[in-house]
């Protein structure tokens, strides 16, 4: 008569262990999913940052600025484009 409760207790413990293991496995999967996403986001973000910090990107900046200025002149005219450029420089310098 006493062996039946013992058996039930043992099966309950086993189920709880199994449940905990599944929870841990699930948590690990969710962590792994988030880690993959973070890695992709971080790497792509760093790739952009690295491009921006390369020598070639920095030395070609005047060319890009000149092109942006040329487009601005086309859009809003020379005087406004100059005014915008001056305002930008001032804002950068505070």
């Amino acid at each position: 008569m006493q062996s039946e409760p013992n058996e039930l207790e043992r099966r309950l413990e086993e189920a709880e262990r199994e449940n905990a293991a599944l929870r841990a496995e699930n948590a690990a999967l969710l962590d792994s999913q988030l880690a993959s996403w973070t890695t992709i986001v971080r790497d792509e973000s760093s790739a952009l940052t690295q491009v921006y910090s390369t020598l070639s990107w920095r030395i070609t900046k005047p060319l890009r600025d000149a092109r942006a200025f040329q487009l601005a002149v086309r859009r809003v005219g020379l005087s406004s484009a100059l005014a915008i450029a001056v305002a930008r420089v001032r804002r950068r310098r505070g």
Partner: protein, 501 residues
């Protein structure tokens, strides 16, 4: 204010992951009010948060979760995109779908390594420009005078934005001094790039957010989304609508920036206009948005004071001897400085003796033309100067020394130079209509039509030749109703602090 501790950050994972985990833990108590297990790792916690936002009817929950995941304040299209992703999801794939939706926003985020603090039921004041820069003309004067008083009385949370405008952040100690201690000599060094990069994102929830300046263009869409989705009550100080209603007097980019700003205005709860004239302009705009099915903001007039700014003691040796005419304001066509110069030249030619001082900077495109005119008159022996980079205390000394000041601006939101001149008992010649007309109604001013040069000449001649008239205007000033910066700061607070709509 920051509740970010080192315990929030696991040292054995990279800074991006640890910052993400910290932000999720900071959001958890607000998204899982029933209790969040903060000991769990980031993956399962994110799943709980996503399911909570998915099941929630409140946009603010999703808005907060987006900030936590990406380190960015989203724009409206990001919130709608995320909402759509969750609507099409099942419990099983909701997290993946949301992460996928937000990947692009996150990969362009400048804040992946930045922690976050959430503040609830607080008063948050956006002082981005004043905190980051030393410039101090119209809007900055209002913000600094007001916030130096609020700092002690209401202890608001001051915030700036990260460099690219991706999120609100705490301000550093030096930045705070720039906002609240402007009238005193600021000690110490401004924060360096690394120090600023370490300041946490500030996320207001169920709070009063006051946008105290006209924001940078790149902030407008994120600020609009705060108004639309975050559950915060957003108040704006309405300075003027000049870039729209007088677009011919400002550079194109100012108009473009203002158009973006109007998007924020239409979703804001309240606009606190600095004069009745400005209140009318914003009310007109608020009415126009009903055609879009929006109620528009409530517009209230909270007029600026006629008072002097807090400043260090004035020096006495900045003014010339004899009669001094003062003209304060940045050099731009709207301020009508050429008309003042024209009037002065006529009066000098008539044989009147007086000194003329212009105080204020401006874009080189306007100043170079103006400076040429001034140089021509100087060569002719006229006592005229343009003073740039003048400190507040020097300017106050000039007001005190002046016989009268001239401010015939074509349009103003308020006209601080008129108010400051009157506060120092110096009569003013100013525009008869709009906000300066409002100020003039209480006495101490001669009003003119700024578009009529002869009207300005006549007024200046009168005050240069009739000392009794000057004294009469001074007596009128003495009887003007007094309104101080203390009163303005208090009135503004009565609409914002603890006053959620």
């Amino acid at each position: 204010m920051s509740d970010v501790t080192k315990a929030d950050i696991d040292s054995d994972i990279d800074p991006v992951s640890s910052a993400l985990a910290q932000r999720l833990r900071a959001a958890a108590p607000h998204l899982l009010p029933g209790g969040a297990d903060l000991d769990t790792s980031a993956g399962p916690l994110l799943k709980h948060l996503v399911l909570a936002a998915r099941g929630s009817r409140r946009d603010e929950d999703l808005w907060l979760l987006i900030v936590a995941i990406t380190g960015r304040f989203p724009e409206a299209e990001h919130v709608r995109g995320a909402r759509a992703a969750l609507r099409h999801s099942t419990e099983a794939d909701a997290t993946l779908l949301l992460l996928s939706e937000l990947a692009d926003l996150a990969r362009h985020s400048e804040n992946l390594r930045r922690p976050m603090v959430v503040i609830e039921e607080a008063t948050v004041v956006d002082v981005d420009f004043c905190a980051r820069h030393d410039h101090n003309t119209g809007i900055q004067r209002v913000v600094r005078q007001t916030m130096s008083r609020w700092a002690d009385a209401y202890a608001p949370t001051f915030v700036a934005w990260t460099d690219f405008g991706h999120a609100m952040r705490e301000i550093g100690p030096y930045e705070r001094k720039r906002v609240v201690d402007w009238g005193t000599k600021i000690e110490g060094e401004p924060e360096g790039k690394d120090e600023l990069a370490a300041l946490p994102i500030v996320v207001p929830l169920r709070s009063n957010v006051l946008v105290s300046e006209v924001p940078r263009t790149e902030l407008c869409l994120a600020q609009t989304a705060i108004s639309e989705f975050s559950g915060n009550t957003v108040h704006l100080i309405g300075y003027d609508a000049i870039p729209i209603v007088s677009a011919d007097t400002v550079p194109h980019h100012e108009t473009e920036r203002f158009v973006r700003y109007l998007n924020l205005v239409k979703h804001a709860t309240r606009v606190l206009a600095i004069s009745d004239a400005v209140a009318e302009e914003f009310s007109g705009f608020a009415m126009s948005v009903t055609a879009q099915g929006l109620s528009g903001p409530k517009v209230v007039s909270v007029p600026l004071p006629v008072d002097i700014p807090d400043a260090r003691p004035a020096s006495d040796d900045v003014a010339p001897a004899g009669r001094l005419v003062l003209c304060v304001g940045s050099h731009e066509p709207r301020k009508n400085h050429h008309a003042v110069l024209f009037a002065a030249e006529l009066l000098w030619n008539e044989g009147l003796q007086f000194s003329l001082r212009f105080v204020g900077g401006g874009s080189i495109w306007y100043t170079r033309i103006f400076d040429k005119q001034v140089k021509r008159l100087q060569k002719a022996g006229r006592d005229v100067q343009v003073l740039r980079g003048v400190s507040d205390e020097e300017m106050l000394a000039l007001y005190r020394e002046a016989t009268f000041s001239v401010f015939p601006s074509l349009q103003e939101g308020f006209g601080l130079p008129v108010a400051e001149s009157l506060a120092l008992n110096t009569p003013v010649i100013t525009t008869s209509y709009g906000s300066t007309g409002e100020i003039a109604r209480d006495g101490g001013c001669l009003t003119v039509d700024p578009r009529d040069d002869e009207s300005i000449v006549t007024a200046m001649r009168e005050l240069l030749t009739n000392q009794e008239r000057v004294q009469e205007l001074q007596r009128e000033i003495a009887h003007r109703p007094r309104r101080s910066w203390d009163a303005y700061a208090h009135d503004l607070a009565s609409h914002v602090v603890g006053g959620r709509a």
